[in-house]
Symmetry: C2
Subunit: 241 residues, 2 copies
């Protein structure tokens, strides 16, 4: 919900109000988890149902933070992009940066996924799955080089490459003092020579995830998760209030 809705309540014909009152048969006194998009989470108690559904909300003391990692992905086929948007929103990353890869298919950019709000809805669902409110920023760049420049300040900069990696991901400890990581995942057809040169020139290390070729969406999850662990970025779950 928005901050205004949290203060002033929802109209009875609002889809969320209908879901609460009809599907979940909530009533005055029922408590539910609520969250403000990109803001606080809280426990809401229903105060009134008519003329508006209003809440008394106990807010969490400290807001959750986005996790300090950028995921750079060669724009994949829409069915892969859908999974990536959902799953990386659940993981809690700061930014998903899609770039047009040398060995990509230009048709992928014209999908209804991107011309409608479908991509935003997938982020919302991923964040809801995670009981979070923090929506990753999604950026599209025309080339890998521009994507790399957006993450040039990350203390850990790794690209996954099944074929020309220097070693497995995780085989060396995180750089001391690194607080932000970035990981680049190529397109299905792999990096081309120019892209590998751009990565090395910008100080990105090539790493692999073994001798199996994984789907792009699987590589995003494993790579992103491993770097978050290396950064020590994972905080324990705690009750909201």
């Amino acid at each position: 919900m928005t901050e205004v809705e949290a203060r002033e309540g929802l109209r009875p014909d609002d889809a969320r109000a209908r879901h609460l009152l009809r599907t979940l048969t909530a009533h005055i006194g029922t408590t539910v988890h609520v969250g403000v998009r990109n803001g606080r989470r809280g426990i809401a108690t229903i105060l009134t149902v008519e003329p508006k559904l209003t809440f008394g909300i106990r807010w969490e003391n400290a807001v959750q933070q986005k996790l300090p990692i950028d995921i750079l992905v060669g724009l994949p086929r829409p069915q892969s992009a859908r999974k990536i948007l959902h799953d990386l929103a659940s993981l809690g990353v700061s930014r998903i940066i899609f770039f047009k890869p040398a060995k990509g298919d230009p048709a992928y950019a014209t999908s209804s996924l991107w011309s409608t709000d479908e991509w935003k809805e997938l982020l919302d669902k991923g964040v809801e799955q995670a009981c979070s409110t923090l929506i990753p920023e999604v950026i599209h760049t025309p080339s890998l080089a521009e994507a790399l420049s957006l993450s040039s300040n990350a203390g850990i900069r790794v690209a996954l490459d099944p074929y020309e990696a220097d070693g497995p991901l995780g085989s060396q400890p995180a750089r001391a003092g690194a607080t932000h990581a970035a990981i680049a995942i190529g397109p299905e057809r792999g990096w081309d020579t120019t892209e590998r040169a751009a990565l090395k020139g910008a100080g990105w290390t090539l790493r692999h995830l073994g001798d199996r070729v994984l789907r792009v969406e699987a590589a995003c999850l494993i790579g992103g998760g491993m770097l978050l662990a290396q950064l020590g970025a994972w905080r324990p779950h705690r009750p909201i209030v």
Copy 2:
């Protein structure tokens, strides 16, 4: 293919033969990657098309190995199980052990996923995606306790628990000399008290992946990948011959 098919060839009406000859317009002299289920991979050159499609095959020198990890999963809804079967087959794990969790839904076991060959086909597709031939063993057990006993010899034994973990996964180095890992992932509704006691009693450590609740299939990939990295199990890709 089977070893016999590799030796004696495919009949022209075989689906793989039709795919090669018609869809890919292969002909005598064309080379393709082939593999024997749970066996060797090779590069095959088409020798004859009629009366059978036969090959001259250069086999890889050393066969690929399954990766030394068991993934224990509380039997999830079929749509999650489908992704897990595919993605863990791609990852190359040794065994996927599904157990009936205390907070599970018995209906999940009656899905057509399990009563037909669909689950086997998903393993095949996952292995194909990875350019491998090694199909994970899939085991069903009636309880977590029985699943734990199957993996009691693993040198690393971790269970993911967003709520009662002792720390994040990856926060301590792998036990020296560990060559095999096992990771247990609970059902969507989480572990119950008895299951947590069984895990601790059998020497499994509770770890979390941060304060976001991930889908079961995402937790399988991140958790499995991280333990394979900790074991040093990832070998680099090399050309088959």
